[in-house]
Symmetry: C2
């Protein structure tokens, strides 16, 4: 695909839209040309500070109905396009957070608009079925065209669910069912199993556990929350399970300078995993499964090496625990591969892979032996939403047609290189630039500065998200191209200069 540098003149012209304040233009990044005619704006365009007056008015209205402490601003989704989110005050922002990483191919992609304008698809939207008992005629076809066409290696079975938390909750149940049947040696429960489970007691409701990691985020319903350990605000005051929590490696950057220390750190964490598995078995709460994110997102964009994950997968196998890879935030192409676990280079990467967000529907893939042995064990009224499958088919078509994984690899490289340059330029402010594809992050010297940078970026027309204590995470859509990277880098550089 042609990708030429645009003239200095065009770069400046683009920048005109960007610089709203009186700060001088600190040009650091050469913008690449737009590669084709796209449904996208040319750059940010800010009319007010954010939230503007209309957003403030609506926040007040909604405040009579809900807690609005988390509301950033109100959006005009009709006017949003591609990588740009438009708010109700007419501000147009380059969106590098994309609804917490859940807009796969940008706003109002023409292919999706066309799909949903097709009268043949109306019925799917207005008649939501109970998929587990009465699926629509095209359901096997749409699941095959969508989810199965991107199934992780070794997985031929997939279960849709309504959201990420429900996906992990039901994946846990699949793991528990599989583990208990394995313990029994058959799948016929005893009378005692059946009577005790009805009153929440063992052996019918067994004391099994899921091993998770410090800094993990796997959702906020009570089962998921017992494996989430990223922030106090998620967990405080909610009853939980006594399940084991292993340390997730804290790698030192730059990786090439700390390879020995990082290998030691990973070995320490793996050893702790094995110790915990043994300890919890002795406590009478055997570890039925291990859940992990390929990159811990909410917890601070924490990475580990492919070796770490390969060893962990072996430990799971050795101890008879299911290995559940949570790709809810990493899945869907943002790392430059469709699944982040592809970087591990394994034929048998996992027993369960859960997804949501960019996949538009929640759900999980599973190996055949992990599938519940009887109907109605994994079940609820909706079991997903076929209208989301329909959208996903088209999203995947666009990803293939527009070679978006290659674009992500390219943009990701430009983004990470830009972050490296910025951290070299502002060593007291930035550190630990890291990432795969556009799934990048960088640390800021402290939490207050990080939060201030996020707000300043927003007022300059760039939407970013935080994660962990001091990190900024980059979660653009897959249509985030090299020239968007440069628009961002220029604005960000300008803001950093204000915060030296």
């Amino acid at each position: 695909m042609a990708s030429a540098l645009i003239s200095r003149q065009l770069a400046l012209c683009l920048q005109k839209n960007l610089w709203l304040g009186s700060t001088g233009c600190r040009y650091v990044s050469k913008a690449a040309a737009k590669t084709q005619v796209e449904f996208d704006y040319d750059g940010p365009l800010m009319k007010t500070t954010v939230p503007g007056p209309r957003s403030q008015e609506l926040t007040k209205q909604l405040g009579d109905i809900q807690n609005v402490g988390a509301v950033n601003f109100f959006c005009n989704y009709e006017e949003s396009r591609g990588n740009y989110l438009v708010d109700v005050d007419g501000n147009r922002m380059l969106d590098i957070y994309t609804q917490i990483s859940s807009i796969p191919i940008g706003y109002n992609h023409p292919a999706l608009l066309k799909l949903m304008a097709n009268p043949n698809n109306l019925s799917t939207i207005v008649n939501r079925p109970a998929l587990g008992i009465l699926p629509p005629e095209n359901f096997p076809e749409k699941v095959t065209e969508s989810l199965l066409s991107v199934a992780p290696t070794g997985m031929t079975r997939v279960q849709t669910m309504a959201c990420g938390s429900c996906s992990n909750e039901n994946a846990f149940k699949s793991i528990f069912i599989w583990y208990r049947n394995k313990e029994r040696g058959h799948n016929t429960p005893s009378e005692e199993d059946m009577s005790s489970c009805m009153i929440n007691q063992a052996p019918g409701c067994p004391d099994l556990s899921i091993l998770s990691f410090t800094g993990a985020f796997h959702g906020r319903t009570l089962g998921c929350l017992a494996t989430t350990h990223s922030k106090v605000i998620h967990k405080l005051d909610v009853p939980s399970f006594d399940w084991p929590i292993a340390p997730f490696p804290r790698l030192k950057y730059p990786l090439e300078e700390f390879s020995r220390e990082n290998a030691q750190e990973e070995a320490r964490c793996l050893e702790e995993v094995e110790d915990l598995i043994v300890k919890w078995r002795q406590k009478g709460k055997p570890v039925a499964g291990i859940i992990i994110e390929p990159i811990q997102a909410e917890g601070g964009d924490n990475h580990a090496s492919p070796d770490f994950f390969r060893s962990l997968r072996s430990i799971a196998r050795k101890h008879g625990c299911a290995f559940h890879v949570d790709e809810i935030q990493t899945g869907g192409g943002c790392t430059g591969k469709f699944w982040a676990h592809e970087y591990w280079g394994m034929d048998d990467p996992a027993d369960i892979v859960s997804f949501s967000k960019k996949l538009l529907t929640g759900g999980y893939y599973q190996k055949e032996e992990l599938q519940a042995d009887k109907p109605y064990r994994i079940f609820n009224t909706w079991m997903g939403d076929p209208s989301k499958n329909l959208l996903l088919v088209e999203v995947l078509n666009v990803i293939r047609r527009e070679n978006l994984l290659e674009e992500v690899a390219r943009s990701g490289k430009a983004l990470l290189n830009g972050l490296y340059e910025l951290q070299a330029q502002y060593p007291g402010l930035l550190s630990r630039a890291r990432g795969q594809g556009t799934f990048c992050a960088i640390d800021v010297k402290d939490s207050a500065t990080r939060d201030r940078l996020l707000l300043q970026a927003r007022d300059k027309g760039v939407l970013l998200g935080g994660c962990g204590d001091v990190s900024i995470r980059f979660r653009p859509a897959l249509v985030f191209k090299e020239y968007h990277v440069h628009i961002f880098l220029n604005i960000f550089n300008d803001i950093l200069a204000l915060n030296k």
Copy 2:
């Protein structure tokens, strides 16, 4: 609204479509005329047994991807209309189960098709926002027009969620947060609270409990499942919480003959509730909330008197427990009132009311003091789905415009009277006819006979659902009119005659 008896001739003409077998026509029920031109078929029309060959072929296909043990048949939702579900073999069935009670105004209602064909609404479907941080401009308006317009007495606050289980899970969290802040006397957690919660331990993850009832169904994620006690298949092999379970009254029918016994039974259950609250407090696992369905659905359509619920509400208040009414199956008009708890006649019926299914979006109403004190405590990526709110606004318009609650009351009366007649006619086969609105049920002499009746009804073009051990539950859409009742009664009577 005009509602005249149609001629014997038309009734017979309708029946022609119904009787497929060679059994004689046992006419018991006078059909009422269709009251207006409607988007509905005239009656069932069966071409094959169910599942037919095409359904069997698709089930085999889907079987390569998922457990299909629960699949009844595949549907042609495009051809389905009003009260009739059409399958992929061209069979047209009167649907009295409606996707486990989740189709509010029938299939392909013209008002919903029109709404979704409007290009202005496309953006809502293709750009799913993270509602908690970046709501669309029309969100306060749409929530006000939809959910708030039918808010239970005393409730002005509502939180949307993606499904029923997520609604209850998050409602529980709201309850726990509220309870702990009440215990503290303020909402500032201690250092110990904050550090212990990150590793799933008390006091940060406190040993609080939710009291539920035998036979209850509140969902299948791990928190909800700890309050669900209707069937072994839901609970077996899944770890749970040691939370108290009180007996739900088992009323004897006919109610008027057993008023003294039933009052005693309810008093016994209430006493047990208080005993359990005291006992669990002594165990160090205080009851933060009580959850109950106004009519236990999945558990067997178990009713209790308004007095029972009023007393229970008082007990909750007395002991400082939140009172959570789960209207996921009962809400939305099927009892003849929008909420089943309206039959209790209370100004302050609940602290939390959860919903899903017919409301199209999940969520819960709460009293102001139950709302989490800080943002991000009740939060997830999607927090519901605005495209469902859009549909709900129109569903409520149709309910009002077509006076559907009155229709439900009328049809429900006809249905229950018909069931009374049938159980009088087949005393060895049927008993305990009961219901409110069209939310009716009847018991069959044993489980095997019940299951056989359901299949025979399906082959004659009537879709019904089972619940509990021996019950048949009726869950038609709100557009189920008196003449649909008579179509059903005629077919059902015919089947009963085969099973005498």
